[in-house]
């Protein structure tokens, strides 16, 4: 021990760390009292980021950045000892980072901590939020299975909606005319070099600003921020009742960060990394691209907004979000900080959380997606083995009706449930609908032979509310 101490003294004598960094570590911070546990999300985000850096370096030491080999190298990583755990930590670390940066943003916004003099803290934080989302997106792509491949295509298509430069931007993202050899390298460079470099830079500035402007004191209703007097008041507050950051305030950060790391590790062990899908072969047509959970709500949002608004939402949505983040500290840099005096802030956060939670839940079900894996209706549902009704059931499956319409628990949920179609519609009404189609249903005019139509109508007319016994494990089959 004594030797260690001597080495430290010698090192400190040469570097002066205890003189230069010591006061920074123990600088006084305001007492947060009841809200003290709300202050841990920022440091926990940083810890999650460091987890990503460490595991990311480990992964990159075996990952092959080639469109043809990346998939195989990931299988190699997954099968290597501990490789599965590293992938798991990287995946749940990403998830944790998204959640924590979200909580941190919400905390800062609700407590009005972005007001004078901390506007630049907020703006650098907004940059970090953006980079984190981009990291999540590119990271999902680097898995480079079928989902990763189609993520690249969907990204290019969304970029293509930008006015004037859309087409150019889309092909720029793909690094070519199609997804090919150069595409993956481009996203790899973004995920591993470009974005992390920016994040290190922004984190450095962000932390510097935290020290320079001081950690915000908990807001109190009726104590507005006045830029002319705030700094003086803040310093007198620190002199009166400040506590040293290390260790009196920071132990909570360490404690919470340790819990986060532990949770990531346990999840990686127990749940494991997301399974690799099919290889990234563009000729495997049977693909149903889905984003990872953190973008599931956005996927759902784009699916459910009115068709005419989509071209605007794809481009303006992210822009408006970014503009909001920029304008928050610029327009609201003074005045009341307490959420009790800023009811709109509570409403906005509540609205955002509601929208994300709602669309996230909807996105998991994806009612707008046809169920192309649906199997033909069994005889127990049809009720007969032969005759026009059985023929109609076959037509119902052959013509793709079942991909969107449920009959007695079988089939998709994009269109109306037709289990009791015979109760609700006359055959004339059914024929009209089948012929004319609808906004979300193709017209079958010219697609059905007269006898096919007749048997289909017979089948639909035979659907009544009197339920046949449901087959077992029915829900699991439909909503997987």
């Amino acid at each position: 021990m004594r030797i260690l101490k001597q080495i430290w003294r010698w090192f400190d004598d040469l570097t002066g760390f205890s003189q230069s960094l010591g006061p920074i570590m123990s600088h006084p911070v305001p007492q947060a009292r009841r809200t003290r546990w709300f202050y841990v999300f920022g440091s926990a985000t940083l810890i999650a980021f460091l987890v990503q850096v460490v595991t990311g370096i480990a992964l990159s030491s075996a990952y092959v950045t080639g469109s043809g080999q990346a998939y195989d190298s990931l299988q190699f990583i997954t099968s290597a000892p501990i490789g599965r755990i590293i992938r798991g930590i990287h995946y749940f670390g990403a998830s944790a980072m998204i959640i924590l940066i979200g909580l941190h943003t919400i905390r800062v916004y609700l407590m009005g901590a972005y007001k004078y003099p901390r506007q630049m803290n907020w703006l650098t934080g907004a940059g970090l939020l953006l980079f984190t989302l981009l990291m999540a997106f590119t990271g999902q792509l680097l898995r480079w299975d079928q989902m990763g491949f189609w993520t690249a295509v969907v990204a290019a298509e969304q970029a293509g909606r930008a006015p004037l430069i859309g087409n150019w931007l889309g092909h720029f993202l793909l690094a070519g005319n199609t997804v090919g050899g150069a595409t993956l390298s481009r996203f790899f460079a973004a995920h591993v070099f470009f974005l992390p470099a920016l994040m290190f830079l922004f984190i450095a500035v962000h932390l510097y600003l935290v020290i320079f402007n001081g950690i915000s004191e908990p807001p109190k209703a009726g104590r507005p921020v006045d830029p002319r007097t705030y700094r003086r008041w803040y310093h007198s507050l620190l002199e009166r009742e400040g506590i040293p950051f290390w260790p009196q305030a920071a132990w909570r950060d360490v404690f919470f960060g340790a819990i986060v790391v532990l949770a990531i590790f346990v999840l990686a062990l127990v749940v494991g990394p997301p399974e690799l899908g099919k290889p990234p072969d563009p000729t495997i047509i049977s693909a149903s691209p889905r984003p990872d959970w953190y973008f599931m709500w956005y996927f759902a949002l784009l699916s459910l907004i009115p068709k005419w608004s989509e071209r605007w939402v794809i481009i303006l949505g992210p822009l408006v979000f970014g503009l909001f983040l920029i304008l928050v500290p610029l327009l609201g840099g003074r005045g009341e900080r307490s959420p009790l005096r800023r009811p709109w802030s509570i409403l906005i956060i509540g609205f955002v959380i509601f929208v994300i939670a709602h669309y996230w839940l909807v996105g998991i079900r994806a009612p707008w997606s046809p169920r192309l894996e649906a199997a033909a209706l069994p005889a127990s549902v049809v009720g007969v083995d032969s005759g026009p009704i059985a023929d109609g059931a076959r037509v119902f499956f052959d013509k793709g009706c079942e991909y969107c319409h449920t009959v007695s628990g079988y089939g998709g949920i994009r269109g109306p449930d037709l289990s009791d179609a015979g109760d609700r519609m006359s055959t004339a009404q059914m024929a009209t609908r089948i012929f004319s189609g609808a906004e979300n249903m193709p017209s079958y005019r010219g697609n059905l032979k007269p006898e096919e139509l007749a048997s289909l109508l017979a089948f639909l007319a035979s659907r009544h509310r009197v339920q046949l016994p449901k087959p077992p494990a029915l829900q699991g089959l439909v909503r997987q």
Partner: protein, 403 residues
Amino acid sequence: MQTFFFIAFPYIALILAVGVGLYRYFSHRFTYSSVSSQLLENRHLFWGSVSWHYGITLILLAHVLPWLFPRAAAALLGDPTRLLVLELTGLALGFYCVFGIAVLIARRLPNDSRARAVTSPMDWILLLVLAFQVLSGVGIALFERWGSVWYLSTAVPWLWSLVRLNPDASTVTGLPVLIQSHLISGFVVILLFPFTRLVHVFAIPIEYLWRPYQVVVWNRNPRLPEAPTLAKDTTVSVPAPPEPTDLDRRRLLAKLGIFVGSVSAAIVGIPSIAFLLGLRKAPEVWRSLGAAGSFQIGQTVEVSFLDSSPLPWSGVTAKTAAWLRRESPEQFIAFAINCTHLGCPVRWLPNADLFMCPCHGGVFYKDGAVASGPPPKPLVTYPVRVRDGMVEILTSPLPITSI
């Protein structure tokens, strides 16, 4: 949109330029001037103004002459060496202009600059548009090479079609955005003519060239800031100003440092960015899909082929898939597998004669027309041909739906 920018906007710009220009000439004739700020600030003006005016005059000539004499220009550029020399000269002149306009902008920037005090918002707009124009020009020279050649077959026909009052923008609408923005902002400059000091172009004192020269003698050293004369005969104490020459040197060193640093950054940065931007072009080639006889009439099948530029490490991603349909013995049609909504792969339902997208349930009829759901456009088709009994498909870029 492009109709507006390349047909309507040039006419609007020209009409406004001529109309307002004439109005200004007859109503405010003495405003036809460059509103020189030479008396206020001379040192930077020399470097900025000389670089800018010599550079831009030659550059403009290089734009106007080939427009007037396209065939002569084509003959001149036919030889690779001459082309290279001219391109490099143009690029150098472009940099000369960039330097000039940068100095002209910089001299108006400092808060204590006297030139800034007389700078109107219109001046700033003009400076920015001109800066954008020369920067985009240099950008084109760097990233879209041999502009002096393709200029003759793209912008020149378009400009002549405007002159002939038979506007046809088809030769420029397909150009990269960088070039299009250069063309558009060129007309913005024309539009700005009567509203800014740019009118001085029409008031060039050409007679300066042959009139006897005159010698300007300053009766004070223009390099020294005005001495604070007030301090001498009042009791107000003014801190002694630092030695002017020392201050000058410090300022110069700071500016030099920033300039040298920027140049170094540009030397490394521009090639890196250019490399990133350059990776997207690939030729289109015909790929064989198999004997025509192997496809049945009226059937839609999935075909796969190598994309136009497969790389050794592309692996399975070098492949591209398409839906091929044989309409008649001689007629084939190939659809991109990508849904026009967000690019997901559509599936062919052979019994239902429909394409269906698994992502958001877009449906297309067998001819690619939208049947239902969110897709805004029909399925994109690839060119197909039958040659020597083999079906061939033209490798095309991934279709990206844009608005």
